[in-house]
Subunit: 290 residues, 4 copies
């Protein structure tokens, strides 16, 4: 077990150009047994805007903020203290779950999705990863393959870029690394899902705090964390929401005529040995929060 | 209201070549207030095979049959009597639901999926359908456009064919018509889902009873039926399962080394005016069963 | 016959970062019976660079400038006076050439190419344009369809964008309009080629002088000009080179580590009635220079 | 030097369903200094059909048979004796030609084409093959990579399948292997072209005589032979025509309503030591016929 306390602050700023803009935000920290949220504040600058927070998935503790904004400036600000309790295991002890034993609500994470077209990758994935020892180590091998065969480059992809594009062009951002890893996992029948969350900012220059996209793979009846882009310290990643791929879990989906500023994300890890809160560090152990 | 009684029989035949074949079948009629199932029988020829039926969605009355088969011959046979009660409305009275009023579990049916890449079709869909009167008539216009711009040809597509391929190549089977209609609906913010079901066999030669793929669009807080391939009489279509696209709702998903025979589907419509059971006929009215 | 005299100036500026940069430029005006070049000057700022001009096609009067540059600043400047003599015909009198009568060196312009995948557009092209009256009017109908169904937007496409992408996304720049028109022409067996040239700048704000991409279609044993983007006055377009698509005729192909400035293009039309030089104007007549 | 004598017979059989069918055949053996043709016979069963043979490229000795057929049965039969004189070199001695020294008519074989989208493969090709020793060995490494990473399966591809599809799906026929090898070569600036020819039938069961697709790469100012599908003995391959990819060099291009039989190809290698004619054998030497 590894316990991490994160202080999170997200600020999203927009200029609404016409009446009738609808926003669906996914900026609340997921609230689960493995990741508990306290001292949560949400402020919306438009006092007359209508908004409400709903569960998009009660099981997964995932929330959605719906907001109908008026023309003009809009600032949405979210702060929270989040305690993450990592289940830590020796990866060699984490087995794959045979397809026949997969719960039905997990089963659909082996199907192809918009940006993770696993249905076209069977031959490749089987020839590359099919012979490997099954278990967490195989998912890790896929993660490592993606990290070492794709280059990270800012602005190298667009919203419609998919795992196939990334496999061909070998360049992308964290979202693209995640999509390719997910597609390859599914192609060998490993349920894999896309996580949108935050990266706590392991190094100020290379990876400041930011929204982050990473992967969870279902192994040993848990969802284990993987960061195929290699840009984060997984122990410090915080989950906002999960889905089949980026189509499901944009941090903001906007309907209407709106100009967006660059989002501002701050994350601080609170180290306090007295309370058991560690500093996030790289580890070779398998991590899961659900 | 229109009431239809259907007698359904599905026979699936396989030769399992190696131990350890897993099947996930989606051949049970959905059991909902609008489509009630009675006198259901399932038989599996392998007496030693393990199988069980689970709800894949309790809300939608959709079931999944999991089966672990032994090597050798396998016959799975399902029979049911299904009563469908169509909600029948004047399409001119069925309005669209503004995005802001969509329930969260409906909202994700406007997102792109594996075979319905609506994210690349915004410009086209808006220029073609954006100016139309909103409501059921707009969904119908999309349905009609797809039917009249795509040609039906047996075996003209493969499992990986997507809505974009169909838009380019203008040829397909019912699955492809459905994917293209769904993608175009989502591109104008109409929630649309893929239905796998049966076509009761309106004409013995042109459209014998068979599995069928069609579309439901969320309008006026109901899901309305559309058949963009134009090969069925919608009133006689019966629902097995729904999903974002064909990736979610194959009638059979098979893991293992298996040879498949052509599935056999029989559907009869029981006309009995005394009980109120009509014969399925083409109608210009809007139909919904959920 | 319409005669146009253009004064052309092209300036390309680079910073070569490492030794060993090779450039292939396509910036010489094509020199043909229909487009004659006089008073041509080429200057290369690096006095020690090796360069030579070769014919890339003697038949088509197309030239290629090869240049091996040294590290540092590089300015390539080309000036020419170009007299274009348009063959002007009533489009109603220009027939298509049956495939069997196409010269072999024209025949390959009905085959698909990198960015003009006509092989996937047969059904669409035939259903949309197959029934039209054959001849220049059909090519014009394709040109008009592309212009009216695609939106011009700066920076909306990248180097790998193809006709299929443009057909799906309905947005592009002149290159994309040209690719889509070419693909559709070939799909109905009309030989079509890509032209890279200049747009003389019909209006200072909307279309300043610039490199331009347009289309020639083989009709009545000539190549006729079309501007599917609708951004130029065809009578003022000047040809640098032709090819199957943009893969063949980039104005600059660069091997090595080089930073590029925005190219500067100046084109002036010299009106001089005494010499017979007209001002380029829009016309409903069919134009050809070869 | 290795000399091979081949006896070639090609029979193509069609049923022309409507008047006005045009055929462009590419079934004449190329006639070059390295591959000389003697005793050539062409017979066309329709005595009233118009046909003629033209050079599609005089330089390359490539011919095209144009034929206008009448409705009914059509048999086109071609026989020839072909002497192939292979230039045989130690591959370690064959260097690459720097881009700056490429002849202009070779240069365009580094550009992307319909089925060889090298423009999307730079990162992959450079990371996989960029660091290798330059020369014939690098082209051979690309050839070997394609052969070992793609599986040969009959009917696994269609006419629109491209190198990108093959890279993703890892399965194909000889045409697909050739396209992928070509695309990867071009991505590292190696000029590569597609050859349509015959495979002399090294083993009666695995590879009977048939049309074959293979690759030539420009190295050391010659075009060297490669067979990425690994299904032929390169010394026994005979060239019909070359092009950028399969779009250029189909053995038959048909305009009109026609039913085709399976083509029949017979090739015999004449071994006659007295004349210097060897039996084609596998060799580790580099082979070129042009």
């Amino acid at each position: 077990m590894a316990m991490i306390r994160l202080q999170l602050k997200i600020e999203l700023e927009y200029t609404v150009l016409e009446p009738g803009a609808d926003f669906f935000f996914c900026i609340h920290a997921a609230n689960t047994p493995g990741q508990t949220v306290s001292h949560e504040f949400l402020t919306v600058s438009q006092t007359q805007a209508y908004w409400e927070t709903q569960y998009r998935s009660q099981n997964l503790g995932e929330r959605c903020l719906r907001l109908e904004a008026l023309p003009g400036h809009l600032l949405v600000s979210y702060q929270a203290t989040v305690d993450i309790c990592h289940h830590v295991t020796d990866p060699a002890l984490v087995a794959e779950v045979p397809v026949r034993q997969l719960p039905l609500d997990v089963l659909h994470y082996i199907y192809p999705s918009r940006y993770c077209q696993s249905d076209r990758l069977y031959n490749f994935a089987v020839s590359q990863f099919g012979h490997l020892l099954q278990g967490h180590v195989r998912a890790q091998a896929i993660c490592d393959w993606v990290e070492s065969h794709v280059s990270y480059r800012h602005n190298s992809s667009v919203g419609t870029t998919s795992a196939l594009d990334t496999l061909i062009e070998r360049v992308g951002v964290c979202r693209d690394f995640a999509h390719l890893m997910i597609a390859l996992c599914r192609a060998v029948n490993l349920p894999a899902r896309f996580v949108t969350g935050t990266n706590y900012g392991s190094s100020p220059h290379l990876s400041p705090p930011d929204f982050h996209a990473y992967v969870e793979v279902y192994l040993g009846h848990r969802w284990y964390l993987f960061d195929p882009s290699g840009t984060a310290i997984p122990m410090g990643m915080m989950r906002l929401a999960t889905g089949r791929d980026a189509a499901d879990v944009a941090f903001a989906t906007i309907f209407g005529s709106v100009m967006s500023e660059q989002p501002r994300v701050e994350v601080h890890a609170i180290e306090d040995r007295a309370h058991g809160w560690e500093h996030p560090t790289h580890t070779s152990m398998a991590l899961s929060t659900s």
